[in-house]
Structure formats: C-alpha cells, structure tokens
C-alpha cells in the first residue's frame, strides 16, 4: 500500500477509536525500538488495527500483526489483513486434539512459533495477543507460551507490553457495528527475559505489566 494511503488509513482508525497514544510515563510520545515483539491484551477485532495505527510511520510498515487463520484466513478478511496490514496468519489450534491440548496448557504448537521467528529474523516486528482469544475487556486471561518462546528466540529484540483500554467496548466480541468510545493505547517499557527465568515466571511477569497498567487506565471503576 502506498505510504500516504497507509497514513490516512492509520489516522482514520485512530480517530474512530478515539485512541490516545501514551508512553509508560504518561507522555504522548512513546520511545519505541526499531524492532520489537509487541504484545497486548485482547478484547476486540480492533485491537491489532489500533496498535498498528498507533505506531509511527517508520515502524508501521515493518510491524506484522499475528492473526488467527480460522477467523481471518478466508475471502475478503484474508485479503484485507494480508495486503493492507501485512498480517501473519497462524493456525490457532491446529487440527489434532493433542495440539489443542498443548495449546490450552500454554504451549503453542511448534509450527506457528517457527513461522513467527522467521518474521523476526527477517527484521520485522510482531504484534501478538498472548491470551490467544478475545476476552471480555475487563480481565486478562492467562498467557499462552508463545510469547516466552519468541522472547527467548532472540533476547536482543525488546518485548514491548501494550495496554489497550476500552477497545472491547467499541467492538465487543460477537458484535458487528463498532460504537465510538475513547480508547487508550499505552506502550509500556520493554521487558526482557532474564537468563535464569522459567517460562511461567516470565509469562506471569509479562501479564502483570498489562494487568497493572490496565487498572490505571480503565476509566470506569464501578462498571459491572
């Protein structure tokens, strides 16, 4: 897509989502590394669009959202996410039941990780949602193991937590018409896997960053 059209599209998405982009310090100009593994909480189809749109132009064309093949892998959806957003499609569960169990227990099927590490090796960034599926926007589910594997693959690449507030209210799971709300995209400080850190403690630490940040930015306190 031509750069100008891409910027226009990014502006449109940010404008519709009323997205306020913030750094961890609360400033409006987050410092982002050239290459990163962005991971975020997931409550809406708009999530990857909004993160993509929030990235500065020079990083945007090298950031590849990871999307589930079972939803985005056919017809118009596939054409849009692949051509416009340069998405990387993965098999969420695989077809066999053993794989599904593996995935649920927090270990992602091997094939999809290998594909994603190729993306990283090519110098591109990834946008992933380690919860694996969209939640209700209130709480954050346990993370699948893929994030750990990716972080381990090349510890030089920063892992950037991204907190999305209110996206699930704009377009909740199961709805088709987005209703404008103001949303917030917070790029938190990068985290790195420590040398002696095991999978579970890294995943817990990664999730805690989002939980804490979301609590700060979720605007409605006594929501049901």
């Amino acid at each position: 897509m031509p750069p100008l059209a891409r910027r226009a599209l990014a502006r449109t998405i940010s404008g519709f989502a009323g997205a306020r982009v913030m750094g961890a310090d609360g400033g409006s100009d987050p410092q982002l590394p050239d290459q990163a593994i962005y991971y975020a909480n997931h409550s809406s189809h708009l999530d990857f669009l909004t993160i993509w749109a929030a990235l500065p132009a020079e990083l945007q064309h090298r950031a590849r959202p990871v999307a589930a093949k079972d939803y985005w892998g056919t017809g118009v959806r596939k054409a849009v996410v692949e051509r416009v957003f340069n998405a990387y499609l993965v098999d969420r569960h695989g077809s066999s039941s053993t794989r599904r169990r593996e995935s649920d227990s927090g270990v992602s099927p091997k094939g999809q990780i290998a594909g994603m590490t190729e993306v990283l090796d090519a110098g591109d960034s990834l946008i992933i949602f380690p919860e694996g599926t969209r939640g209700d926007g209130e709480s954050i589910a346990e993370f699948h193991g893929g994030l750990y594997r990716l972080a381990q693959h090349n510890p030089e690449i920063p892992v950037v937590p991204v907190t999305l507030a209110n996206m699930g209210r704009i377009l909740p799971k199961g709805e088709f018409v987005p209703v404008p709300h103001l949303s917030t995209v917070v790029f938190c400080d990068p985290i790195h896997p420590k040398p002696d850190e095991d999978r579970q403690s890294f995943l817990t630490r990664a999730r805690d960053v989002l939980v804490k940040c979301l609590a700060e930015h979720q605007r409605r306190e006594d929501a049901q």
């Binding site: 009323g18 306020r20 209700d136 926007g137 209110n166 699930g168 209210r169 909740p172 799971k173 709805e175 018409v177 209703v179 404008p180 709300h181 103001l182 605007r219 409605r220 306190e221 006594d222 929501a223 049901q224």
Partner: protein
Amino acid sequence: MGLLDETALWLLGGVVVILVIASTTAWLLGRKLGVTSTITNLKQRINAWWLMVALIGAVLAAGETVTVLLFLVLSLLALREFITISPTGRGDHKVLVWLVFIIPAVHYWFLWEHWYGMFSVFIPVYAFLFLPARNALAGQTKGFLQRSATIQWALMVCVYAISHAPALLQLPVAMELGREAAEGSSPGSGGATGAHLLLFLLIVVQGSDVLQYIWGKTLGKHPIAPSVSPNKTWEGFIGGVLSATALGAALWWLTPFSPLVAAAFALVSCVMGFAGGLVMSAIKRDRGIKDFGSTIPGHGGIMDRLDSLCFAAPVFFHLVRFFYT
C-alpha cells in the same frame, strides 16, 4: 455571506480583536514570568479559541445546513466522551448503536427541517421510551436502571440540549410571521437575525466561562462547592456572571431585545451555564477523571467546553421563543 451580515462580521471582528489582545497578553506574561504550566495552558486555551471562533464564523458563512452539521458532529463527539465514562457494558452494545448512529441523525434532521413539534418531542418521548425497551430485549438486567438512566442522560445532554443552540437559527421566522408559519420553513430562512441570536448566546455563555476563570484566578478565595470543584469560587462566579451579564446588555443591539431584557436573558444564561459546569464537574469527580477527553488542547474534551452551553441553550431558546414569537 450565508447567515453573516455586516453586523455579524463586525461582531466577529470585535472577537478577533479581543483574541489578539489575549494572545499578546499571554505572550507578555510568558516573557515576564517564564514558561510555567499555567502560561502554557493559557496559550493553548487561547489558540483553541482562535480555532473555535474561526470554525463558528466559517460554518455560519456557509449557511444553516453546515452549521447544523457542525453541531451534529459536536453532539456525536460529546456523546462518545460521555459513553466512555458511563457504566455501560457489553449487553448495552446494540442500544448504543441506536444511541450513536441513528437517534442523533434523526433528531438533527427534524431540526434542519424546522419541524419544531417533532424536534422537541422526538428525544424526550420516542427515544426515551424506545431505548430502555430495546435494552430490555437484550436481556441484561444487572444495573439496568442505572445503565438506562445514564444512556438517557447522555442523549439529553449531548444531543437534545446542545441542539437548542443551532435551533436558535430558525426562531426569526416565528418572530416575524408567527409560529405556524415557521413550522417547516426552509433551512436558512432565519437569515442573519438567527445568526445574531446564536452569536449572542455563544459570546455571553463562553464569555461568562472565560470571565469566571479570570475573576477566579485573580480574586478567587471562597469555593462554592469544594467537594465538587475547588476551582469554582464565589468571587469567580459573581464577578464572571455580572461582567458577562453586562457584556450581554452591551450586545442588545444584536438582538430583538431591549437592553434590560438582553441583560436579564444573559444573566439567566450565565447562571444556567454555571450550573452546567458544576453538574459536569460533579460527574467527572464521581468518575475520577479531570477532563472528558483531550480533543481541544488546553480545554480538555468537547464536553468540557460545551458543559455550560448544554444547560444555557435550551433555556435561552425557550425564553426567546416564549416571549418573542
């Protein structure tokens, strides 16, 4: 030019002169006191005023249709801010689609058509009864009354109340030819007189906000409602409202009112405007936020700027309609 005649252009010229003075003063203050956060905020506020004045001037020059469209957009932006801080949940999504995409457009359509009867009852009667019914069908009962009430409130304040400002544009036909002739008159038929009424209200109400800010910043000591807003003081309120009332009286030539009536209407509008600001402050305080948004640099969100107009416009509209048509 559209709804702007020579008088309105002179008036806007006067506003520009005041903005030039304000910008110069802020610049001088910045040189004298250094760049503090208050000065930066002051400059942002004044710059935003330049834009807002230019926008109002431009849409009035383009005519009633464009002006109505501007207020529709403002209503939608305000609505977005309002539902963001409301305790609505996923079960409300379908009703929010109606709230945002359908009802405001229909309401503003009736306004644009000069169909006063439908304009005044569509939201308080039809939307009021329809929205909770639609929401009950969605089946979520938890917090139902609270959620429904919030949605009604958002609609009344952000759409119904704000729309009474552009509704002023159609009053001149009713003043001249009577209410029946005004029903269904063509958009733009209010002409320059309508624009004068709208400008009178905007200048008095927004002027009152600015004057309350200035009086409060310089003399303010005794807070009116400390638990709601520590920035609202008796000094700011009395000084601001009285000086804005004087401003309104001084603008009587713009309106069909005598100077005394202009002062009285300005006073009512300023007090209503103050009430609007106070109510919105209470809402923000309850939700634990400082501003509704960050759309207008220095001012906050659209609702932070329009809070006073929300309360003043409907009352001003009905005062004029009752006594002058």
